[in-house]
Symmetry: C2
Subunit: 298 residues, 2 copies
């Protein structure tokens, strides 16, 4: 049985870890964080709980991380008691977090000096995809390391693309998040327009889901929006964090992102309105407020 | 054999008319416009060419129109030698054009006075959908008239939704076009960001097409964009026209459309750059210009 260390048991990480168990991996997890998830997992077969990331790294040659933001990954990988202190040469760290592409390249360079491969491997597909094991995984880094991690990746994802060298996964994730976030603003504008004119939102959704506007957001999440269900999924405040990364990356490579900028301002307004813990689709509620029209509850 | 009159044999109308022929409808078409399409169709069995819309209306109880803009539909339906001059009571006009929802309601009211049903029935799915007979059709108007037109609609579309009363089809089309147009700006921003950072656009596309960014635009058209193929499809200048309708409708019902407005400004810039006859996806070329990065030709 292969041992995988898993750090970061949040709303994405926990179901991903469960899929590794289902695929007959033994797991080493770290206590002290995500206590509810650690408690639930520790009751399962083939799960070992240790005290630090360093100890987890000592026990596995493939390590999976799934953390909220760039500083979290830097601390867990590079910090005191962190993964690089415990990892043997040849170890592969697969980081599913969405973090700065430039930071990912820097972490990979530091890991390489210790003979450890750090793959940037952000995911898309939301909590549903994490539970179903159908995530899309976009990977940047060394091809041999990708091959070594592949059995674990296949337990968590469906579409696994080795996009390019270190950072390529995170650059691709920027593109992914831009499309996802901007789409919610578009759906908000389009559907409030119809709703205010008196069109039934459910029928409107049925019609536009089938043509050239067809997309994941309309198919998978908008039926929930119409019910007024904004349980994440993927939290609006994390989408805001991801867009901040995309905008900083745009500055770094001199690519203007005019519409992404505006949409991120709206995400900031959504958080300020106390809705940052809602699903990213809750962006449409701002457009409902602005237009005094409801697409929910009809 | 049922006779259908068909007015408007453009890049959408011609393949839609061919699908009606395939489904064993006899067609009456009008000479003088779309000469190439008229010439090609006139060589087929079960096609009659007449001189005016009025004469076409005299020969059919279901009339299909597929025209560029609001004034074209007003002229063909209400003008001298137009459909209402020739149509018998009980005739159904199915208008697949994308026009102002308010104008559609006004045309329907005038038609009703003559005992004729005017259905607003805009379509989505582009020329590919028109050729394959898989269009999405969103309909506003009288339920009995929709039922009468259904055999013809089924020959042209796959997802046929009677959204609501007169105008509802066009309001829904506004929502549809907003999502489609804004998505192209999002794809342009996201993919130029990755491309400028050195990521291979084809691999980036493969990765983001599979997760929460999944959409028709990425699946169906972006592979063509990467080849530099901007043959329409659906022309950018018509998308601009449709967004102008959406924005005017937003004013009419007091719904602010901030991102739609900006994206429409970019479509105007695209037309000014001489690219209005290209496919709507050509919006990404402006973002390529702005960011000095290419997502094409790699």
């Amino acid at each position: 049985m292969k041992n995988v260390a898993f750090i970061g048991l949040g709303i994405m990480g926990e179901p991903m870890a469960l899929n590794l168990l289902k695929a007959k991996f033994a797991l080493t997890i770290v206590g002290g964080h995500a206590k509810k998830a650690v408690k639930a997992l520790s009751k399962r077969k083939n799960v070992t709980v240790v005290g630090t990331a360093r100890e987890a790294a000592e026990r596995a040659s493939v390590i999976v991380t799934c953390l909220p933001d760039t500083p979290d990954v830097e601390e867990v990988v590079l910090g005191a008691g962190g993964l690089l202190e415990g990892a043997k040469r040849g170890t592969v760290i697969v980081d599913h977090s969405t973090i700065s592409p430039v930071a990912a390249q820097e972490i990979a360079a530091k890991a390489k000096k210790k003979g450890v491969a750090f793959l940037d491997a952000p995911v898309s597909g939301g909590q549903n995809g994490a539970i179903a094991g159908t995530l899309s995984i976009m990977i940047g880094g060394d091809a041999k390391a990708v091959k070594k991690a592949m059995p674990a990746l296949k337990a968590m994802g469906k579409k696994i693309v080795h996009v390019g060298k270190s950072g390529a996964g995170q650059f691709t994730k920027c593109a992914n998040q831009i499309v996802c976030a901007v789409t919610w603003q578009a759906i908000g504008e389009g559907m409030t327009l119809g709703a205010k004119a008196g069109v039934n939102p459910a029928r409107m959704l049925e019609a536009i889901s089938a043509g050239a506007a067809r997309c994941w957001a309309l198919e998978v999440r908008t039926p929930e929006v119409l019910k007024g269900n904004f349980k994440p999924g993927f939290m609006a405040k994390l989408q805001h964090k991801d867009l901040n990364i995309a905008l900083a990356t745009g500055k770094a490579v001199d690519v203007p992102l005019p519409v992404t900028s505006i949409v991120n301002e709206y995400y900031r307004a959504l958080i300020a309105a106390g809705r940052g813990d809602m699903d990213t689709s809750a962006l449409v509620t701002l457009q409902e407020d602005l237009s005094r029209a409801k697409i929910r509850g009809k």
